[in-house]
């Protein structure tokens, strides 16, 4: 009789149980700050088109037909204009989209690959473990930024190639940590109990083991967001980013190539860097929140 209602309830409690450890770290003040920063930037990215004062790529002219080039901050152009007469503030706002897109997409892919590899490797052991861990060794033996440069430089300057390059090399750290965690989780009583009751291997893996390592995936995912954003900015700065897209990295490249440094145009090249710092530091703060919950020993 009771069986008829129980599955739904059980599923709900299981869902809550899986979600709780992911939300718990947000009580940490660092993590809360990080999440707040994220929310602000996500809102900016969503409403970017209503926040910009000009088309970020449009070359602007005065009423008398003069190019509005290299101007300092003013009411009309909050952060001034580039040497080509483009509005810097508008570029900064639109650049949020590129950063968040690359950061979040790459982080999800990295955390996903890392988690699945770690689960399979740790739970099955044997040859799948050996093969996957050697693959991790190889990925760690490839220089990260140079590899992404090759991907973007030779496969074409597209965002997808940058994300692919990041994903191909960044998963091993996550996979190794999760594998170690799985090694200890699989020896616990509840996994043994599931095995005795005849649950299938995949069921044990994804229903019983996976929820216990989910906070770790989130921890490494939140670190990967920062890495991905820094990498995208570096690639764009080196000139291998998509040319039709404004990002913080491409703004910095533009400023560097236009001698903004020698003129001391701080209003041009300081804001994009500060934005990168804020988003990346937000990721660090969130991951610190997870660390203090996951490894209470570190908490001091």
């Amino acid at each position: 009789m009771r069986d008829a209602v129980e599955p739904v309830q059980r599923q709900r409690t299981r869902f809550v149980a899986a979600i709780a450890p992911i939300l718990a770290p947000l009580r940490d003040p660092f993590a809360a700050t990080g999440v707040t920063i994220y929310i602000v930037f996500v809102l900016i990215a969503i409403f970017a088109l209503s926040l910009v004062s000009h088309d970020p790529l449009e070359i602007l002219f005065n009423d008398d037909g003069r190019l509005v080039a290299g101007e300092g901050p003013s009411r009309q152009h909050l952060l001034g204009t580039t040497t080509l007469g483009r509005d810097i503030f508008s570029q900064l706002v639109i650049g949020t989209r590129a950063a968040l897109y690359v950061g979040l997409t790459a982080a999800v892919v990295v955390a996903l690959i890392g988690t699945v590899v770690g689960l399979v490797s740790g739970y099955f052991g044997g040859w799948p473990d050996a093969v996957l861990m050697r693959l991790a060794d190889v990925a760690l033996g490839i220089p990260f930024l140079p590899f992404v440069i090759l991907m973007a430089g030779f496969r074409g300057p597209r965002t997808s190639n940058i994300i692919l390059g990041i994903a191909l090399l960044l998963w091993p750290n996550t996979a190794r940590v999760i594998r170690a965690q799985v090694l200890s989780v699989r020896e616990r009583a509840f996994v043994e109990a599931a095995r005795v009751t005849g649950a299938s291997t995949w069921r044990i893996l994804f229903v019983h083991v996976a929820p216990n390592i989910l906070p770790l995936s989130f921890l490494y995912g939140s670190i990967a967001v920062g890495w991905a954003i820094l990498t995208e900015a570096s690639i764009a700065f080196l000139g291998f980013g998509p040319s039709n897209q404004v990002s913080w990295g491409s703004m910095l490249q533009d400023a560097y190539a236009s001698q903004a440094l020698s003129r001391g145009d701080y209003h041009w090249f300081v804001p994009p860097g500060l934005c990168i710092v804020l988003v990346v530091v937000a990721g660090f703060f969130v991951s610190r929140g997870y660390e203090t919950i996951l490894f209470p020993k570190l908490k001091d």
Binding site: R134, D137, V138, L140, G141, I142, P143, F144, L145, P146, F147, I149, L150, G153, F154, L183, S184, G226, L230, A233, S234, F237, L238, G239, F240, G249, L252, A255, Y256, A260, L261, S262, R263, G264, Y266, F269, V270, P272, G273, I276, V277, V280, V281, G283, F284, F285, R288, K297, L298, D300
Partner: protein, 325 residues
């Protein structure tokens, strides 16, 4: 001894896979690699001759074997644009990259481990509350942007340091040693090395701090306290020594990673090193140079990973026994 050998073989295996990936990455590149060489008035026979001279008329597996053999003896071919042996070009910029990397790492790790130990000692004070977020923020800053800001302030506005390059134009030196020990070179080195050091100091600092906190709670420290040793003696002689072990490992890993990560810093400061060479080669489709630079960076990275692994088990005897549960 056996584990050392197996670690070494594993390193060779990783290098071989990296070389293989590199081979296919460049072979599957769009466009014909000989385009840079072919003159518009070449006839078909000349084109065929040219491909033959590069071994491009051979089947792929023969090319692969030739390629591996060449890599093993450091034969990277000739640059498309500079028409010089790649190895010669690589070796001419290698000292610049190594000096930049080493000097910034040494500054970063000396400062980081001292500051980390100090922060562990002052834990719970306002200093910690200010320093930790500050360190995290510096680590989050893109290195090239830090470099741009420092370059603009100290290079252009204040004029304290040169704005780029490794030596002033026109300076002549009788030997490489004389060049890298000249005051001119060191003046050029300050800004890029300082930028890198600012970026790199966070890892040793945080690592040292958490190691110190760990070590300070261990029995032998309690023992030292009971012996009545001063806090200074305990922190310096007992705790710091043990907490330094993982930092030494991180230094080796950091060296491997920085060689490749320096790419952007070298570009900002026009520092003639491996990274800048790689970037300009990729931009100009100079495949042999790009391939050679990438391979050298990989070799340094893999070898340093291996060294870090050795250091880890050599410095801490507990590791080799406690490894793998």
């Amino acid at each position: 001894m056996l584990s050392l050998l197996s670690r070494f073989l594993q390193m060779l295996f990783v290098l071989w896979v990296v070389a293989t990936i590199l081979f296919f990455l460049f072979r599957l590149m769009p466009g014909d690699p000989t385009v840079a060489y072919i003159d518009t008035n070449f006839n078909e026979e000349q084109v065929r001759q040219l491909k033959k001279s590069f071994g491009l008329d051979q089947p792929l597996h023969v090319q692969y074997v030739l390629y591996l053999g060449n890599l093993a003896v450091g034969e990277f071919g000739n640059s498309f644009h500079q028409k010089q042996p790649v190895l010669k070009i690589l070796l001419s910029v290698l000292p610049n990259t190594i000096i930049l990397t080493l000097s910034s790492l040494i500054i970063a790790y000396a400062f980081g481990s001292l500051a980390g130990a100090w922060l562990a000692w002052r834990r719970g004070t306002w200093i910690e509350g200010v320093m930790i977020p500050l360190v995290l923020t510096l680590r989050a800053a893109p290195e090239f942007w830090l470099g741009m800001v420092l370059l603009s302030i100290f290079g252009f506005q204040l004029g304290w340091f040169p704005s780029g390059g490794a030596n002033s134009a026109g300076a002549l030196y009788t030997s490489e040693w004389q060049r890298i020990t000249s005051a001119d070179f060191l003046r050029h080195l300050v800004l890029p090395a300082a930028t890198l050091a600012l970026y790199l100091q966070g890892l040793p600092l945080l690592l040292m701090r958490s190691n110190m906190l760990d070590v300070m709670s261990e029995d032998f420290i309690t023992m030292a306290r009971m012996k009545g040793l001063s806090t200074r003696a305990i922190v310096l002689r007992h705790a710091a020594r043990n907490a330094l072990l993982p930092v030494a490992t991180a230094f080796a890993l950091g060296f491997g990673a920085s060689i490749g990560g320096n790419v952007v810093i070298e570009t900002v400061f026009s520092w003639p090193g491996l990274g800048r060479l790689l970037v300009s080669a990729v931009a100009a489709s100079d495949y042999p140079i790009a391939q050679g630079a990438f391979f050298i960076i990989s070799v340094v990275l893999v070898v340093m990973n291996f060294v870090a692994d050795l250091l880890y088990s050599a410095l801490d005897p507990r590791v080799s026994h406690a490894r793998r549960g």
